[in-house]
Structure formats: C-alpha cells, structure tokens
Point group: C2
Chain length 479, copies 2
C-alpha cells in the first residue's frame, strides 16, 4: 500500500493543476470541509459534495494516513449579502420557532440523510455558535495587523489595505482591480470604507435574537470568519486539505484565505479541492423554478420528476460514475442506467464466492489491483475505478463460461480487493447489511430444513414451515 501512497495526485484548485500529494506531517492529514448551513433540508448538490469528500476521507485512511476530518455546521451568520437577514433567523420567523430549534431540526435531518448514504462521520463537527470567542479573537488579530476596522459596532475586512501586502482572489484567479470595478457603489448608509469589504462582525439591533457580546458591542460573526477560526483551532496554522462545493470558491474561500494571511501570513491549506455542481435535466436546480428535488423525494419516489424511486446506494453509485470535478446531470434515464449498473456490480461479491478455482490461471489480479489504485491515485477518479469493476464483472462471466481459468491465489486477491475498493473506499453496503442479513439467515434456516426433510425428520421441517408462515414467509415445496 505504501508503494501506492506516494503516487497520489490531487487536483489543486490553487494551481489549477494535478499535484503530487505530500502531507505536512508524515502520516497525518488535516482536512477541513465546509459543511451545511442548517436552515433548510440539505439539497442533492450538497450531498454530492459530502459524498465526494467521504470517498477522499476513506481513501486517505486506507492509504494509512491518520486523518483528522473537520466539517462544520453553520448555525449563525450566513447572510446572502452583508445587508440581508441571517438565513436561520429568517427560517425561525417563518416556522415560528426559536432559531436554535431550526438549527437542531435541520442538523438532525442532515445527519439522517448522510446516514442513508452510509457516509462516515467527520472526526470533529464544530458549530459556528460554539466558537464565538475563537472568532472574536481572530477578528481582533486581523484588526491589530491593520486589515480590518470597526465602525458603529460592526467590523469589516479592509480589502484595499490587505491588497497592499497580499494578493486577494488567488483561488478564484480574479484580478483585484476587476473585483473593485465589479462592486456596486455604496449607498450613504453603509459603514464600509469600500464596497468590496466584507463583514467579520455585525452589530445586532435590539430585536435580533442570535447575538453575543464582543469588544465592539452586541452582535454576531460574519459567515467567512467561522471556517477560518474553526479550521485553525482544530488543524493548526497550516493544514493539508481544504474543500467544499465549487460555489464556495469565491467569495467564501478567497475570504478565508485573506483572513488566514492577515493573521498567519499564509494560505491556510496546501491543497484546495472543489466539487462540481449537480444539474437536473440539464438545468441548474432551483426551487423557485420548480426544478429541484430533495434526497428523500428520490428515495421514496414522492416527486413528479422521476418515474420511480431510487435507493440511496443507486444515487451514490450514480454520483461516483462521474468524476467529482465534472458537472453531473441528474435525469430519470441516467438514474435508471445507474441502477442497472449498480445491480450488476453488486453481484460481484456473490459471483466470486461461487467460483471454484482450478490449477490453471488466465487472470492477473495484481494488474487489476494496480489499476484500481491508479484510478484512485488519479485525483480520486471514481468513474475509472467503477470501470475496473466492470472489467472484473466481465472476467467473472468469462470464468463462468469456461473461456477463462482462475486459480485460488488470483481469486482470493479479487475477493480481498473488491471488498476494499467497493465497501471500504466507495462505502457501498456490503452483503452483510440487514436487508441481506434477513436473506442469509433465512437461507440457513431453509438449508437446515432441507437437510431435516432429507432425513425424513418432518417434525423439524414442518415446525420451520409453520413458524415462517406465521411471519408471512411461505415455502413452496411443490416444484
């Protein structure tokens, strides 16, 4: 495995190139991923992001890295722009409940959806409201270093001052002059020096619910500062990977970089990874345009967009059939095709179990394993890995039809590594899940029954038949 470890390449959004991955500390990886704002049901595009980082997390751990994966929960401060209402407070007003009830409701729902996809939990899942002091302390340092100013109880990041010492917009590759020119002009009421300055701390008015005391009076943190404060708290001044959806690249991630540079002089992460968008029938998903579907609506088929329901595992398989950096279009046709493909790949476990190896061999499991690692090492290329599964599937058919031979050494390797790539790394349900477990336990029971019937021990065989019949499982002996 260590031979493969050194060949991992990651596409770095910072350089727009695939780069060899080298962690800061030999066997440790620190990874920060921007989590959801818990003001509404998480949408499928977000799920794609978290599913993709689950793959990355699992693969890095498989390569024997000790990974600390931090994914935050944004439960305060996410404004559409600096003058709009906090998304969570707005929702609380609509649902007539306390903001922290909104947070709890949608955090629970978020966890439940990710559980359906069988994602592993991050090692730390910090909340923005849980780190107000840390955010205040970071803002103080930015002010002290001359890159932020307070005005009327709010604090803004001073982009003009920052740009004299550092490059702003390096991630999104924007030219600072363009950014300035793009900005709307300020109306008279703004506290900002320049329109492109962004809020680090906002003054709260009297009726505002979510607010805390600070050196600048009662208020709440801006959105960008939370990720910087929590990332550095749990991963140090500099960490390995920072990730998120492509829509966060600008301004969120460029603002994060500016904040870190203001305090530590450096970009917080060596590798920036961005997952691409999910479209629906060729168009951007949009609730208002009726072009939107939620995870649960796909799982249970309660939508007018698809002809049937699709399981979380089929949806995940569909997502892995595209590389995370490509856009991906959700459609009934595509999901149907994925379902068919998934049903095929799923049988590989059992097919391999049923093969009786011989002395002759025409298979090269080592080469297949090498190809699987090469796929994953090529910027976590899951579609290439799935293509390798299809190669294996084809080989199994050849073995079954006797046009190829396999010996026990190669068969064992296929079994071992299919399990590693399919279950451990892609995180698909293995054959041991409860649904299958019912089937397998039933199989044992029927096997016992057959044995007893052969021995003409009808007492036991009838007992089994009658008991199963009470559960609604009927055995048909006539055939």
């Amino acid at each position: 495995m260590s031979a493969y470890k050194q060949h991992l390449k990651i596409y770095n959004s910072l350089s727009s190139k695939k780069e060899a991955f080298k962690s800061i500390n030999k066997d440790l990886v620190g990874m920060y991923v921007c989590g959801p704002t818990v003001y509404d049901t998480v949408h499928l595009g977000n799920c794609r992001t978290f599913i993709s980082f689950d793959l990355i997390y699992r693969y890095l751990k498989h390569l024997d890295y000790n990974v600390r994966y931090v994914r935050n929960i944004t439960d305060v401060g996410h404004l559409t722009d600096d003058s709009s209402e906090d998304k969570i407070i707005k929702r609380a007003r609509i649902e007539k409940i306390e903001p922290m009830e909104v947070v709890q409701k949608y955090t629970n729902e978020f966890h439940s959806i990710l559980n359906f996809f069988k994602l592993q939990n991050p090692d730390i899942e910090p909340t923005a409201t849980g780190h107000i002091i840390e955010q205040i302390e970071m803002i103080e340092k930015i002010i002290k270093n001359g890159y932020a100013y307070d005005k009327n109880g709010s604090v803004y990041f001073d982009l003009i001052s920052f740009s004299k010492d550092f490059n702003y917009g390096e991630l999104s590759n924007r030219n600072f002059d363009d950014i300035i020119n793009e900005s709307r002009t300020l109306d008279g009421s703004s506290d900002k020096k320049n329109p492109q300055d962004f809020a680090l701390w906002k003054k709260a008015n009297k009726s505002h619910i979510m607010k805390w005391r600070s050196p600048w009076g009662s208020g709440f943190p801006g959105w960008h500062i939370e990720c910087s404060a929590m990332g550095h708290k749990y991963l140090g001044e500099k960490f390995d990977i920072h990730g998120g959806g492509l829509d966060l690249k600008f301004p969120h991630h460029d603002c994060e970089i500016a904040q870190s540079k203001s305090v530590y002089g450096n970009n917080p992460a060596n590798y920036w990874i961005h997952t691409n968008m999910l479209t629906l029938n060729g168009k951007k998903m949009s609730k208002s345009a009726g072009n939107s579907v939620l995870p649960f609506e796909i799982f249970n088929g309660s939508n007018n967009i698809f002809s049937k329901s699709y399981s979380p595992m089929v949806l995940k398989f569909f997502i892995y059939q595209a590389h995370y950096r490509n856009t991906l279009d959700l459609s009934d046709e595509a999901l149907k095709a994925s379902e068919k493909a998934y049903e095929k790949i799923k049988t590989i476990y059992k097919e391999l179990e049923l093969i009786v190896p011989g002395n002759e061999n025409d298979c090269d499991a080592e080469l297949w394993i090498k190809n699987c690692y090469s796929s994953m090492n090529d910027d976590f290329n899951s579609p290439k890995l799935i293509a390798e599964f299809f190669n294996l599937y084809k080989e199994i058919q050849d073995i079954k039809s006797k046009s190829k031979n396999i010996d026990s050494v190669n068969l064992k390797k296929y079994q071992e590594y299919f399990s590693i790539f399919y279950t451990d790394i892609l995180g698909f349900d293995d054959a041991k899940s409860e649904k299958n477990q019912l089937g397998e336990v039933l199989d044992i029971l029927l096997e016992i029954r057959d044995k007893e019937r052969d021995k003409k021990n009808y007492e036991v065989s009838d007992l089994i038949r009658d008991k199963l019949s009470k559960l609604g499982i009927n055995i048909n002996d006539e055939q």
Copy 2:
C-alpha cells in the same frame, strides 16, 4: 383529550408530593433535562433516564402541549471534584486524540444508541462549549449580586453568603449546617473561602487544552453553571420542568437552583423530576467491579451476564414495566420475562385486525381508554398502562374464544387508542418493520438450534452457530 389534560399529576421532587400539573403559559411547556457527559459510552442507567423523559415528552405533546424539550451535551468542565481532571480531557489523553474528537465520537455513539430505542430528538440539544459566553455572563451576575468571588483566576460560589439570603439544599432536603459539617476541611493550597463552595470558573494552566478567555483570565466553566446558562437561554427565567437522574439531585441540581436564585431570585423550574437508578443483579452497576453492561452488549449478546441477546424494544419494555421513580433491577430472568410479555403485547395490533365485530357487545372501550389516561396522568405510570394492555390482551382472548362479543364501535376504539398509547406514547416499533422480521427468523433458527442441542445433535447446532458467526451474529453458549 383536554378533559384528560387537566388531570395530569406529577411527582415534584421539590415538594416530595404528587402535584397537579399547571404550565406557566397555557399550552406551552418548557422542559430541561440534563444530558450525558460525552467522555465514554452512555450506560444503561443513563438510557433509562432518557427513555423515561421520552415518555414524558411524548405524553405532554399528546396532551396538545407545545413542548420545548432542551437536553444538553456536557462536552467540557465535568470534573469529579473541583480539583480533579476534566473527564473529557482525561479520555483524550488516554485515546491520544483531541478532546473535541472524544466529544464527537461519544456524541455520535450516544445518538446512535438512543436511535435504537426509538427516542424522539429533543428540540434543542445545546453543548457546554457552545455557550461559554452565556456562562461567563451568568457568573458575572452572580459575582455582582455578591454570591461568588474570584480568586487567582478561578471563581467560586460563596455558599455562606448565599445562605444568608436563600435556602441552599432545598431539593435534596439537606440542612445547611449538615452540609457545612460534612465538608472536608480545606488544605492550604485551596483558593476557596469555605470547603463547600463550588467552582463556577476554573483557571487553566498553560498545558490545559480546553480553555477560553474570560474576565478572570484563561480558563473553563464549572460543571453546574452550564445547565443554568443553557436552561435560562432557551427556556427563560422560569420554566416548567427540570429533570435528570436521581444522582444529579445533589449537588448538581441544588447548585443549579442556587445559581438561578442568585441571578433571578427564584428556583428556575416549577417541577423537578428525577428518575431512579438501575441496578444489575441486585448491585449497583460498576465497571471496576465487573458489574456493568453496555447497551450494545445487550443488543448483540456479547456479554457474560445474560444468557442471550435482548432487543432494544424488549429493554425499553422492561424499563417501562417499572415506574420511573422506583429502582429497577436488571437480570437475565427479568429480561426473559419482559421479552415474553413484550411478544404478547406486540401481537395486539394483529389480533385486533383479525377480529370480526358483531352486533352484540360486552366490551367497554371507553372505560379502557379512561384507565389508560388515568395511568399516564398518575405521574406517567407506565407499568399501570402496560397492565391495561394485558387487560386488553385478555379481553381479545375472550373474544376469540367467543366468551365475549364486541361490536365495530368498540373494536375501532381499541384499535385507535392502542396505537396511540403503544406506538405514539410508549414509542414502540410496530410489528411491520423489517428489523423485527430478521429477529423473528433468527428466533426460529435459535429455537431449532436449542432443540437440536438438547437432542445432542451437535452437527446441526454447530452448523447454525458457524453460519451465523460468518454473518457477524455470535451466539454465546457459555454461562
């Protein structure tokens, strides 16, 4: 239902009496329950507490109260005594991970265990680290009012000063002079004025990981203050119900009351509810004495204490067969009896479905419903409610044997209200889930195995054991 609503009585630990329940605001109930300290796997005694409050939460909602249920997560500051190490930091040192990774790990596990018991999520689940500022603000108020003092960077509650104005220990009914006399004398190094003073804020030394800035320097909050700060933040100055395990009555809850009185002049809650202890084979559960068993060890049978595994629903049924204020002893015999009883009660759904009503009637469903409500209104008396289920079960047998008649009106009422009390209020799985089917098929298999073992037919019994073991289901024969 509103007729039943006004008859609810709750045993109030404060008065040691059953009292008529009257909420502060007509149809609203605010309820705060002390949650777990997430430094280790939650034990069964804790589970009993959370299962009991789930019943209370569900019943209050059924009575049409709009309940805000707050249950905290203690993720900092829980010291065994004021001079010992924080439980979470200690665990982090042992597991060689960051304290917040300990918090995440055991919070996830806690949620997963409660999910097995099918408990409803609280409306807000606040964390102690998420409310440092709120705790600091409350401590400042206590100091300002003259009931706390700071010394060398720590802040202590001044019990002598408090006791001049208020009664301390009213919940545990302790005499203040006794408390003073019970206290150990201070050694020379203590910052406390009096040995019985408790910490509100502790100074952190340089190597301490979990610390925050405060008006008294870098430190961390004491354990008692978090519940006061979070309770008041989400439920106001005065709320309806405060609950927790009996072991929290003193000092935790009496300290909470003292803190609230210091700031608001009043006990924070009108009703205090305490759940009693769970013992194991007649003795207090204790890890060090080997007299302890974890929920998962019961679910999957991986323990040396019980002869077999018991499902979460059987365990919950067992817990509900005792009133929450009584001690309850866990034993193999008791669990076996509960399993048998649960299997019986579980059939009521189906049995009612199979009954064909006639024109004649000897049943009084209205009376039965009234008795069910009376049981619950009698301080949430779940064993009385379960006794009503057995009455119904007996009546069903009478109907089946034609010694009683039932008409469709009464049958329908039984169906409707059994579903309300069994599924909505006690929160039991209905018979339709797949999980039960697995359990039932497994039970048949194990029954066959027992029979074959009795016949010394070890070929079959070993085959079953080995096949199940391959599926990850281990049978424990040694006892």
